[in-house]
């Protein structure tokens, strides 16, 4: 019976292995679990997680990073306010030097004091070509950054850049921690140390990030002591986990958010945004480059219907790149759908209806391809609605889905259903979108839009320090985009959030295209007050 024993021994070995593996797993740190429902802790479900938590690689570059602070920060109305700096920067007459004085007594969460050297280190590392920061070009204007004493930082610019102060919401990292590491791969990417209201306590990649309140925060210790960001990519799963009480709040598509309207314990927040959907009309293409076609398309689209049908009302028609409630928006560009006008424009430009109803000019059919990224339902719906509106004016739009790998090389010649939108300053979004010097520069000015009036106005807006001059310049840009619409702007999306109703003082900001971590009613979780 020796063999039997061996079989048993083998079975025992398998079980033993399993047990050992189980025990090894159990040796991870143990402690009490947290409970939902308390007002001093909150669990939020977001769709995607940051690639890195190091500002040197781009984390939190637009503020609200929780772990870090910038020299400046933005309030609920996106107005700049001092953060790590004592006051807004002093700017010289030429707009070339910005001087910041640091707040006294600010300490990093490891107890070390913040100094001007940390600020200089942060900016110099990001500007270093070897640092893999994909947003480095946003700091392109900086010629030099240096410390003056322990508490003054001076930026010298290459050219006058009016919106520069808005770039300095960029989070500051401690040199004594991050300085010795490779910024691209060092442990600072996953174990950050900052001055912010929260301290990272754990990051289980693909699952969640946990934060605890920083008791020594210079702005006062947050009332919400524990903050958990759960990564739940699937919309339906996020909604289900919110309903089951596993999550306290989540970002949701409008239709799923609507299922919570009768839930008394939850409140829905609708954040307006700069996040627009537009069709790029490449200049190089014989049809989309034609001004009559562009204007006809602009008149033919029914923006209102797109907002109502595609976005369930959670959005606004986009009459240009800036949303209708932006302070820089020019009201006179507002225009309704006008099919008769679209047909008239085409008639006048000699685009004659062909046998199949599609317009023809000089033997060329008014037809082009519109690419949209596959898997993006909202863009697909926009593309199809656009094609059907265009058809009514006699223009054929062939909507095709593709991955970005396929779209990128074709952006120059084919229309793309694009989505952009930056906050902070009109220059941030508009210059890269429209300036002819950036035509085809990566994802900048994808359609090679080239309009001298727009170029001049963008330059004025970028250089001038005078707000009235700038406002006039951006009004010129918006009007020029109506006269020669190189993009058909369709909608601005609202971002919808559902959150347990346990706190007071919640607001939403006007949000950028990118949203998830820094946006939503939890943009300032550090100032929430528990409801009595």
């Amino acid at each position: 019976m020796a063999t039997t024993r061996r079989i048993r021994a083998a079975g025992a070995a398998v079980v033993a292995t399993a047990l050992v593996a189980g025990l090894a797993a159990c040796s991870a740190p143990t402690g009490g679990g947290g409970g939902g429902g308390a007002a001093d802790s909150v669990v939020i479900g977001v769709a995607s997680e940051p690639d890195t938590l190091s500002p040197l690689l781009g984390y939190g570059k637009d503020g609200n990073s929780k772990i870090f602070d910038g020299l400046l920060a933005r309030d609920a109305d996106l107005k700049l306010k001092p953060a790590l700096a004592k006051a807004l920067p002093e700017v010289d007459d030429k707009g070339l030097t910005y001087t910041y004085t640091l707040r006294d007594g600010v300490k990093f969460s490891d107890g070390e004091p913040l100094t001007a050297a940390d600020v200089v280190f942060t900016y110099r590392t990001i500007l270093d070509k070897k640092t893999n920061n994909p947003s480095r070009s946003e700091l392109d204007a900086i010629k030099e950054v240096r410390a003056e004493g322990d508490d003054k930082v001076v930026f010298t610019l290459k050219y006058p850049y009016a919106p520069f102060a808005a770039r300095t919401v960029l989070p500051i990292v401690p040199e004594h921690v991050a300085g010795g590491q490779d910024p691209n791969t060092g442990s600072f990417n996953t174990e950050p140390v900052g001055t912010g209201p929260y301290v990272l306590t754990g990051w289980s990649k693909g699952e969640k990030l946990t934060f605890k309140a920083n008791p020594h925060y210079w702005g006062g210790e947050p009332k919400v002591k524990k903050l958990t960001m759960a990564i739940v990519p699937d919309d339906d799963v996020r909604a289900t986990r919110l309903r089951s009480g596993d999550l306290d709040g989540a970002v949701l598509p409008p239709d799923l958010a609507a299922t919570f309207t009768n839930d008394k314990d939850k409140k829905t927040y609708r954040a307006r945004s700069y996040d627009f959907r537009a069709v790029t009309l490449p200049t190089a293409h014989k049809v989309t480059g034609d001004r009559a076609i562009r204007r006809a398309l602009d008149a033919a689209v029914d923006r209102r219907a797109m907002v109502d049908k595609i976005l369930d009302g959670a959005g606004r028609p986009a009459y240009g790149p800036l949303p209708v409630d932006d302070p820089w928006y020019t009201k006179d560009v507002e225009r309704p759908q006008d099919l008769a006008k679209a047909r008239r424009i085409l008639d006048e430009a000699d685009w004659k209806p062909g046998a199949d109803g599609i317009r023809v000019k000089d033997g060329r059919r008014a037809s082009f391809t519109l690419l949209y990224p596959s898997g993006d339902k909202v863009r697909q719906d926009h593309a199809l609605a656009y094609a059907s509106d265009a058809k009514k004016a006699g223009i054929e739009v062939k909507a095709e889905s593709a991955t970005w790998e396929v779209i990128e090389p074709r952006m120059k010649n084919d229309a793309v259903l694009a989505g952009f939108g930056s906050v902070g300053d009109p220059d941030f979004g508009l210059y890269t979108l429209l300036h002819s010097s950036l035509a085809g520069d990566g994802f900048n000015n994808m359609g090679h839009y080239d309009n001298p009036t727009v170029d001049r106005a963008l330059d004025t807006g970028r250089r001038s320090q005078d707000r009235a001059t700038r406002k006039e310049a951006y009004a010129t840009v918006q009007r020029a985009l109506v006269a020669d619409p190189g993009y058909t702007f369709l909608t601005h999306l609202d971002h919808v959030y559902v959150l347990a109703d346990r706190w007071d003082g919640l607001t939403t900001q006007l949000e950028p295209h990118e949203h998830g971590f820094a946006s939503g009613p939890w943009w300032n979780a550090e100032t929430w007050r528990p409801k009595k």
């Binding site: 079989i7 402690g31 802790s41 669990v43 690639d51 893999n132 994909p134 947003s135 480095r136 289900t240």
Partner: protein, 330 residues
């Protein structure tokens, strides 16, 4: 009981280890070649959405910094040289050293696979014997048809079904993650609760195969002479079934356990994705879609090693259990 043939076992392990070297070389070379031919753009995977608005200078700079444009043979050579000195390189997409990525995750994947495999082996043997006892009986038919249905069902589908039933509908088990979302610490109790669904699903996906083989093996053995002899000697049905039929019926199953490892790994890949289990699989998916050469190569090496080890283990066991097989001949 005769002493274990340590010498023969050691020689087999040695031979297999030598054989593993060219296999691993070919496999890692293949990974680099396939990754180089992949349509995914590593720069886009690295920068994520930030890159979808970047200028050309930024895209070019990232491309250079990441070393994406070098021929894959060069990169393979450099990776190999590093790996031999114990340096597995840096994962670009996770911004972490590869060794750290694997270290953090291997425990959880091993736990998941070991539990699932153990459950599948035990339950499979049990069901198989039950079905084989009376071939054609009601029990046999139920077990067999259930096994065929489960074998045909894709594992991610079973996983989604399980989430729907146990997590959403009944609300008895957590749907995802290693611990409760609000919890900061990893506690044994929470992990155990969170392990039930993923391990259960993975076990169920492995179960039909074991059941069917055990059933076949035991049923065949029951018809063989030794069993008839045992019955003729008046031994109890229990002794006949477990002592004679199961013992010889398990032999073919044992050899195939090793070949089951690849399927276990791919099954774990899908299960981990569905249940957001923070294991190796999630990293593999990320590494593959991001064309993260060092991470991908290390993970593939790990998977290959697991398969080779599985085969070796099966051979060793077989050699020990079946006296007709000589370890030195394998």
């Amino acid at each position: 009981m005769s002493p274990l043939p340590w010498g023969a076992m050691a020689r087999l392990v040695g031979r297999r280890a030598l054989f593993a070297v060219p296999v691993l070389l070919v496999v890692t070379f293949g990974v680099f070649a396939i990754a180089a031919a992949s349509p995914f753009d590593p720069v886009k995977a690295y920068g994520g959405t930030a890159v979808l608005g970047a200028d050309q200078e930024t895209l070019d700079r990232l491309r250079t910094n990441l070393g994406v444009d070098e021929p894959f043979v060069v990169r393979w050579g450099r990776w190999l040289a590093g790996a031999l000195t114990g340096d597995l390189g840096q994962s670009a997409v996770l911004r972490q050293p590869v060794a750290q990525v694997i270290g953090e995750r291997l425990v959880w994947s091993t736990l998941l696979c070991a539990v699932a495999f153990a459950v599948a082996v035990v339950a499979g043997t049990l069901l198989g014997v039950l079905a084989a006892r009376r071939p054609g009986s009601w029990t046999d038919r139920t077990v067999t048809s259930l096994a065929y249905v489960l074998e045909a069902a894709p594992v991610f589908w079973i996983a989604l079904l399980a989430v729907w039933l146990f997590a959403l509908h009944l609300g008895v088990l957590p749907a995802a993650g290693l611990t409760d979302t609000a919890s900061e610490q990893v506690t044994a109790g929470q992990v155990a609760r969170h392990l039930v669904l993923p391990a259960g699903v993975l076990a169920v996906s492995q179960l039909p195969w074991f059941t069917l083989y055990v059933r076949q093996g035991v049923a065949d053995a029951l018809a063989e002479e030794p069993v008839r002899g045992a019955r003729a000697r008046g031994l109890g049905e229990r002794t006949v079934l477990l002592g004679h039929a199961l013992r010889s019926g398990l032999l073919p199953v044992l050899t195939l356990i090793g070949s089951r490892v690849p399927e276990l790994i791919t099954g774990a890949l899908l299960v981990e994705s569905v249940f957001s289990w923070p294991g190796i699989a999630a990293a593999t998916v990320e590494a593959a879609t991001a064309v993260d050469f060092p991470l991908l190569a290390a993970l593939t090496t790990l998977a290959t090693a697991a398969v080779l080890a599985g085969n070796l283990l099966a051979d060793l066991l077989y050699g020990l259990i079946d006296p007709r097989v000589k370890l030195d001949d394998m």
